[in-house]
Symmetry: C2
Subunit: 73 residues, 2 copies
């Protein structure tokens, strides 16, 4: 079972290269990030992590992608 | 005239969202980055900057995009 908080972000992604870039950036935070689920169709990035919300948000923002909203579920 | 060193990177970009993300990330380094020229067609990112090569490379890598090569011109 995955450990940590569940965060969800709405991110503008227009192709699999976009979503793949976010996946790659977040993968570097393993094992503090235990699950990454990205939907290009829904424009969502779901993350389960023991790291703070702000840390994950900042990591996604550093990819240069536009984050429209985010929340802890 | 633009100040600084001229660096060129070959980066995998598959859509304008990909190239736009890199542009956005590098734009945050202004004014230390004075020029950014990205070609989706040529898969190149040209940067003129007073910052070290490694700093620019790292910034591009943090976007999660694959950098295949880079050099100072």
């Amino acid at each position: 079972m995955s450990e940590g908080n569940h965060y969800q972000f709405n991110v503008v992604m227009t192709c699999s290269g976009c979503s793949g870039a976010i996946d790659k950036a977040l993968t570097r935070l393993k094992p503090e990030v235990s699950k990454i689920d990205i939907s290009l169709e829904k424009q969502t990035v779901d993350v389960i992590s023991t790291l703070p919300y702000e840390t994950i948000l900042e990591k996604i923002q550093k990819t240069g992608k536009q984050v429209n909203s985010g929340k802890q579920l």
